[in-house]
Symmetry: C2
Subunit: 244 residues, 2 copies
């Protein structure tokens, strides 16, 4: 677990496409000249994890045991940092971190680091009901004095949640249109910027080339940048931050 | 290592983008309705492996120790099949398979399974000098009575090899144009179909939307399909083969 052999452990599979999108963003954010300068990653992309949204709604089994099994695999392989490219699963971040000696990087902390001039913005949080109920983003935004808006229960039921599950069955365009409409409701209520606080959203909006992407902060990309920053800190000169 | 807990182990990082492309193709080839029905994958995407092309040219260290270290990680995590989304690395396939009790799936076997009516086609093999020198594809094609053509030394030096390394530094369009020109030389010499026998090629040709893709057999996609077929064989009903 020494930084002499850095290794990013990815606790993935939630969903599998969001994990692959995250891995792609790690590569895209690391302007390296050769294979050997890219970030070393071990990705546990095992989607047989009980559904997180159902667990938080009280209608399904807990994913904790499966997530802990994934953490054990990453630890045993020598991961020096562990990341979870799924916002909803961060409901269990503290219990997973408490059970591991490997430092985890929190996706919400990574994302909010990219909010510049926070006072001037009103954030629309595009997230699952579980992420919203856990107040993962709202608490941190409130602490920073930043205003936010979220989708109503009705918008979650008719737009966000079906959009998210459309991505999981690879109906990316259908998901993109539903999620874009959820985002437009947030703009209509005063949001000046969106946080894509669910890692399925960016792939779906990209599939329809949504103009919302221009005013969005992508949590998956922010987490990828944190991984690249860590890699640069332990291997200076390996790659530059930013797109090649 | 029982099929009761199937897990595809990916010995990746050669290059990292080809591995992510491969993981994306596993998802794309598995028409699943929910996260839990997708193929479970553990991907060792650790690109700090000595350069395979340099090793085969006698100008660099052997990658074998690094590859064996990756195999150990996948084995320890319970991989039930191991795949290598890099054709050149298959030069060391036999030594890696001999050192492991986990069955490996060979990318060349996976690819050639998709050649239909083989007698009617003449195959252009787009591959690294190392893959060509190991005759990974030529031997199997000759055994099946299928004709083939390959790039000349000059074409490898000026088109294929620089195209491949362009992909590794994420200059995808530059790589795509070089690799497409290498492919066009094969067509000019009578090839009726191309095998993308290097996993960097498909991502590069896709980046320039090359018309060559329509007559190409992508080794990365073929290997992904074999992984999906394995998953379906041990978990019938999990997903249908083919795009969603």
């Amino acid at each position: 677990m020494s930084d002499a052999s850095p290794l990013i452990g990815v606790l993935g599979g939630m969903g599998p496409l969001a994990t692959v999108d995250f891995m792609h963003k790690i590569i895209a954010e690391c302007a390296a000249g050769r294979d050997q300068d890219h970030v070393p990653v071990l990705a546990w992309n095992v989607p047989q994890i009980p559904d997180r949204q159902h667990a938080l709604a009280g209608t399904g089994a807990s994913p904790v045991a499966a997530l802990q099994a994934g953490v054990r695999v990453l630890e045993a392989a020598g991961a020096t940092r562990i990341v979870i490219p799924c916002n909803t699963a961060h409901h269990w971040f503290d219990v997973l971190q408490a059970g591991s000696a490997v430092p985890f990087i929190h996706i919400v902390d990574a994302t909010l680091r990219y909010l510049r001039e926070p006072g001037s913005e009103r954030i629309g949080i595009l997230a699952t009901r579980g992420t919203l109920a856990a107040r993962l983003y709202q608490q941190r935004l409130a602490a920073a004095g930043i205003g936010w808006v979220i989708n109503t229960d009705d918008e979650l039921d008719t737009l966000f949640t079906p959009g998210c599950y459309a991505v999981k069955r690879q109906a990316l365009e259908e998901g993109g249109h539903l999620l874009a409409r959820a985002g437009e409701h947030l703009l209509a209520r005063g949001a000046t910027r969106l946080i894509l606080a669910c890692t399925e959203v960016a792939v779906a909006l990209a599939a329809i080339a949504s103009p919302l992407l221009a005013i969005s902060l992508d949590s998956n990309q922010a987490l990828a940048r944190e991984c690249v920053a860590y890699w640069q800190s332990v291997r200076p000169g390996s790659c530059r931050m930013g797109r090649a």
